[in-house]
């Protein structure tokens, strides 16, 4: 799964959790979940649970703590998928 596919999947997951439709429409690696998309910590947990299900990976506490923006999240998803494949 390449980075664009992962980003498209991530965008779909985030959609119900944000009212910032313009920021979501223009989502990039630099998009921050809290400052740009105005997502609270409780909904971040739900997003991470949805990510686990969609990408069939397990997210640990240390990884969760880093998943505050799109760039870090894409890296963690790719890394966990690589671990599964290995």
């Amino acid at each position: 799964m390449n980075k664009n596919d992962i980003l498209a999947g991530l965008k779909e997951i985030i959609t119900p959790y944000t009212e910032e439709k313009t920021a979501l429409e223009h989502i990039t690696e630099d998009t921050d979940f809290i400052t740009d998309l105005k997502i609270n910590s409780a909904n971040l947990v739900d997003i991470v649970l949805d990510i686990e299900e969609k990408f069939d990976i397990a997210i640990d506490n240390d990884s969760m703590a880093k998943m505050l923006n799109v760039k870090a999240t894409l890296e963690i998803i790719a890394q966990k998928q690589a671990e599964n494949a290995g």
Binding site: N40, S41, A42, N43, V45, D46, V48, L49, N61, M64
Partner: protein
């Protein structure tokens, strides 16, 4: 952890404590009761000449028993935890029947998940007739103060 220890850790003062007794508690859920005393101050104004328990108080009662007491139990094993706070982050509750002063309610909460400090529960409140008065899903973030 005993029910007395859980009750002792609740952060509420007497005017905003809506937990009476805890009947059962496990990793997966909790059951407790509370009696709405007729002298509770909000009955004088909600409504004028027609006292009825506000929906927001029913929601708070469901959260204190179903979310906060269960959260205290679930984090009891964590040695570093000195105090615990729970911030309600979402609630979606349907109200089916009015609750009048003097009613004793039974609250049953079932854990949906507890991950990354977020506790989400399916909660039902019943009155003395066994009728469901409200039900829904309540979630909160547990904030823990370490000893350090």
């Amino acid at each position: 952890m005993t029910k007395e220890e859980i009750l002792a850790k609740l952060p509420y003062g007497k005017d905003f404590l809506f937990v009476g007794d805890l009947l059962s508690i496990s990793e997966n859920g909790i059951t407790g009761t509370y009696t709405f005393d007729e002298s509770l101050p909000f009955y004088q104004s909600h409504f004028k000449d027609f006292p009825i328990t506000p929906a927001v108080i029913l929601t708070e009662t469901m959260a204190q028993i179903g979310l906060v007491c269960l959260g205290i139990f679930l984090t009891a094993e964590t040695e570093v935890v000195k105090g615990i706070g729970v911030a309600m982050t979402s609630s979606s509750v349907d109200f089916l029947k009015p609750v009048y002063p003097g009613t004793k309610v039974l609250v049953n909460s079932e854990k949906i998940y507890f991950r990354f400090n977020k506790l989400s529960c399916r909660v039902i409140m019943k009155d003395e007739s066994g009728d469901t008065v409200c039900k829904g899903t309540i979630s909160g973030m547990l904030t823990m103060n370490s000893n350090e």
